[in-house]
């Protein structure tokens, strides 16, 4: 410790009586301590003491899942701050937005951070899903974690959608009106589902109360739990996917055939693909510092980007919600605009059948596609068929979203964004 640094301070503090009681291990100096620091810390122990080099390669995972997690964390912190000021009332919510902007210290910046982080989280969860698909990472033994991921994708959309209503401006009101109308197109359950969501037939105080409760309690609680399980399963399923899963090399005794006259440590019971029983130890490095420092770096980058966006761009806030003056066109949030575009062709097929089929297909994917080839590599040649089908679906969704976002004007008519529409003239 020649120069003072946070690590140096920590080393000094960890040597004191109090410090030792808190941290148990100081900055690790030996490989033993590098293992201990991971295992003995609550925050770190969900990660292995050693990690495969392949998992550290940024060009493999791009850290997309971790970025989503960090955004979720930023959203939680800023969301709690916003809750200190927000009132879920149709007469007060909009005024509270104005007060955040005009009289609450840094209120607007916090709201901006929440807004941009929310949009980014939807985007990064989608990108994460694409990464996992294109690397075939949903295959055995990670099938169920993929299903959890699809669930988290839906939770993310739900969180963003419920939060969209809360400012109670025109944008919020009509986006939710359009969005819940799409839900209403489902046969049999559609109208009931819409009524259940809104607490009525139109967006009003009941809807605001419900969306608020869903947004701040129900969905974050479920989502947070699922994230915990999702991350835990990453560890239990053998870390990030990588080529040539070693499962077939492992010989394990079925649990029922274990001798019963001795006790077992966890290591002996652990099965399958945990790192300890994986490949050649030379492929692995200590998580501290190689993984942890990279994670910390990524967190700083994500924070910097979100704060940067929040300082220079304000979250939109339109006029107070007005149920009798719909904007033309009234548009759903951007991630539903592909769906809205589909609905404009056919409410039933576009609003119900296609999205239901897509979500079902996504959830069942690992059980349908059971071939083991091409795991752990981007665009593996062995997976050309699956990748092609997925790419076509993805391109269609992106194209529909772009059309719905940029190319649709009043009455959902075709407009070209870089040309102002000609004024409507009528000769007399």
């Amino acid at each position: 410790m020649k120069t003072p640094s946070p690590l140096g301070a920590w080393a000094w503090f960890a040597k004191t009586r109090v410090g030792r009681s808190i941290f148990r291990v100081g900055p690790p100096q030996s490989n033993l301590e590098r293992s201990q620091v991971m295992v003995s810390s609550f925050l770190l122990h969900v990660q292995p003491a050693k990690v495969n080099r392949h998992s550290l390669r940024a060009s493999y995972s791009f850290g997309l899942g971790l970025i989503s997690l960090y955004l979720f964390f930023i959203l939680t912190v800023t969301g709690v701050l916003l809750m200190f000021y927000y009132v879920p009332s149709t007469t007060q919510a909009y005024d509270r937005m104005k007060d955040l902007q005009f009289v609450v210290t840094a209120g607007l910046v916090v709201r901006n951070m929440h807004r941009w982080a929310a949009h980014l989280m939807v985007a990064f969860v989608m990108l994460h899903l694409c990464r996992v698909f294109y690397t075939g990472a949903y295959k055995q033994p990670r099938e169920f974690n993929w299903v959890l991921g699809v669930g988290l994708f839906l939770i993310t959309l739900g969180l963003s959608f419920t939060g969209y209503l809360l400012p109670w401006d025109q944008l919020a009101f009509w986006a939710i009106t359009v969005g819940t109308n799409i839900a209403g197109y489902a046969p049999v359950v559609g109208p009931e589902l819409k009524y259940l969501l809104l607490g009525g037939n139109t967006v009003g105080q009941e809807a605001l109360t419900r969306f608020y409760a869903l947004h701040v309690i129900v969905l974050p609680a479920i989502g947070g739990l699922m994230v915990a399980v999702h991350v835990w399963r990453v560890r239990k399923d053998g870390g990030l996917s990588r080529p040539d899963e070693p499962v077939e090399n492992i010989q394990s005794i079925p649990l029922g055939q274990l001798p019963t006259n001795k006790s077992y440590g966890l290591m002996e019971l652990a099965r399958g693909t945990t790192p300890q029983v994986g490949r050649d130890p030379d492929d692995e490095v200590f998580s501290w510092p190689h993984l942890i420092f990279r994670e910390l770096l990524l967190f700083l980058i994500v924070t910097a980007v979100v704060v940067f966006l929040a300082v220079f761009w304000n979250a939109p806030l339109e006029e107070l919600a007005n149920p009798i003056h719909p904007p033309n066109p009234a548009k759903a949030p951007w991630y539903f605009l592909g769906l809205q575009e589909l609905v404009s062709y056919s409410a039933f097929w576009g609003g119900v059948v296609v999205p239901a089929l897509l979500v079902t297909a996504l959830a069942l994917l690992p059980y349908l596609d059971r071939r083991r080839e091409g795991v752990g590599r981007w665009f593996a040649r062995e997976r050309t068929v699956a990748n092609t089908i997925f790419s076509i679906c993805l391109a269609t969704a992106v194209a529909l979203t772009i059309v719905g976002t940029l190319f649709r004007g009043p009455n959902w008519s075709w407009v070209v964004p870089w040309r102002t529409p000609p004024a409507i003239t009528e000769d007399h």
Binding site: Q101, F102, V109, L300, I424, H428
Partner: protein, 462 residues
């Protein structure tokens, strides 16, 4: 090897940590630096300069720099205008440049009860110049230009009985005479050809309204409304009246202005209670009691009020009955009578007019002139109508229709107007069905009036 790869992180941590810190600092600085603080410092400096005693100086120096606001729970408003406009209540700041100017003539509308935005509009909650003055996207109520400020009086006061708002009264009078109600509903009365106007003042900007009167189709493509030939002051007056129609549902204290004693309320009472049965105004009415045109000259207001309460107390031997007017009603009637000496009020007194005169009133009341022209002389364009692209004049209606035919036309209207060129858009103006709006007796009077329009010296024969 391992040490090397770790060391490079420290540089990145430092750089990114600094970047995050810098961005947070920047965000905080922009949040902390607000122009209103400059204005408050300027005000405090001025107060210190003016201080004559050490105590005053102490007081001025200890003025806190903080957001100031007027809470108006009844109006559901928070006006923070006084955060910058600190001296609005201090007459010694008269003539100062904004934002430190004094607001004159404000005694009857105390700030703590009215705030600022209920009259001036703008965004009361905002604390920056552009946002507060409301000239920003997504804010519907930018500040009302001062020349239209009388429009705000109309939210609480009857247009016709506020002497402080003559332009508003003139605008209303124009509205009622040029026939806007022929096509537009206001307060539930009027036609259905054009949109209702009850909230038009909150929806439309002054510029839009003005443009709309001069050349309607310029701001509303395809509008069938004929361009209005107003003089410049008349356009401003009627725009001002339109701006007063905000449809704001104000709570009791403010709305009560419309029901407290006023000349307009007195006029309504005068008609309802049948005063005209015994007294006359403008030569019309009964002869049992004295004419009331100049009663305001002959009697003091207190005398008239007392007379309404108990006629015999101030006028022994009077045969006028005691009507049991409430105090407020007696004051309203008195106010009305006092106004008679200033202006010859045009009273509609249906019971004593002939059918033709009553019909003329009906013609005016429902805005028929809006399409058929003053006195039914026509001339209002109706593009692509077969009738020379004009709304037909009514002058010779007596020749073309029987009484029953005309009645049917008025009651049922005529939705389809025959087009000159069937390939072009149909004529925008049409005859609404008035059956549910105009009472049957009124229709009869109206027909009598329309038949009377035919010039007397012309022969019916061809």
């Amino acid at each position: 090897m391992q040490k090397e790869s770790v060391r490079k992180f420290y540089g990145w941590f430092t750089a990114l940590g600094l970047l995050v810190g810098l961005l947070v600092g920047l965000g905080y600085y922009r949040d902390e630096y607000r122009p209103w603080k400059d204005y408050q410092h300027r005000f405090i400096k001025e107060e210190i300069r003016r201080a004559t005693t050490p105590e005053q100086r102490m007081l001025a120096q200890s003025t806190p720099v903080q957001v100031r606001q007027i809470l108006l729970p009844e109006l559901n408003r928070v006006d923070r205008c006084t955060t910058c406009h600190l001296a609005v209540e201090d007459p010694t700041y008269g003539g100062y440049p904004q934002p430190l100017a004094y607001h004159p003539l404000h005694d009857e509308h105390p700030f703590d009860k009215f705030g600022c935005t209920i009259c001036h509009r703008g965004q009361g909650r905002a604390t920056t110049v552009e946002d507060a003055h409301g000239n920003v996207p997504h804010w519907d109520a930018p500040m009302l230009p001062l020349k239209y400020i009388q429009a705000s009086c109309g939210q609480c006061h009857e247009s016709s009985d506020n002497p402080a708002a003559p332009e508003l009264a003139r605008g209303e009078q124009l509205f009622e005479t040029v026939g806007c109600r022929g096509c537009h509903k206001l307060g539930g009365v009027g036609g259905i050809v054009g949109p209702e106007l009850d909230k038009v003042g909150a929806r439309r900007s002054p510029d839009w309204l003005k443009q709309h009167f001069v050349e309607p189709s310029a701001v509303t493509p395809g509008s069938g409304m004929p361009p209005q030939k107003f003089s410049e002051p008349d356009v401003e007056a009627i725009v001002l009246f339109m701006l007063s129609q905000t449809g704001a549902d104000l709570p009791g204290f403010y709305a009560s202005m419309k029901v407290i004693p006023s000349a307009a309320q007195g006029q309504r009472l005068f008609q309802q209670k049948g005063c005209i049965g015994c007294h006359s105004l403008g030569g019309q009415g009964g002869k049992v009691g004295p004419p009331l045109d100049d009663v305001g000259l002959r009697r003091k207001p207190e005398w008239i009020v007392q007379h309404f309460r108990d006629p015999q107390a101030v006028s022994p031997g009077s045969v006028m009955p005691r009507f049991g007017f409430t105090d407020s009603e007696a004051r309203a009637l008195t106010d009305f009578l006092l106004h008679q000496r200033e202006q010859k009020a045009v009273l509609s007194i249906p019971a004593l007019m002939g059918p033709v005169d009553r019909g003329r009133e009906v013609f005016r009341k429902y805005g028929c002139a809006g399409c058929h022209g003053p006195a039914g002389k026509g001339g209002v364009p109706n593009p692509n109508a077969k009738t020379a692209q004009l709304v037909p004049a009514l002058t010779y209606v007596a020749d073309g229709y029987t009484n029953a035919e005309l009645k049917k036309l008025i009651v049922n209207g005529q939705r389809e107007i025959v087009a000159l060129d069937p390939h072009r858009p149909p004529p925008p103006l049409y005859m609404p069905a008035w059956g549910s709006t105009i009472k049957e007796a009124e229709v009869d009077d109206l027909i009598a009036y329309l038949f009377s329009l035919k010039p007397k010296n012309e022969d019916a024969g061809f």
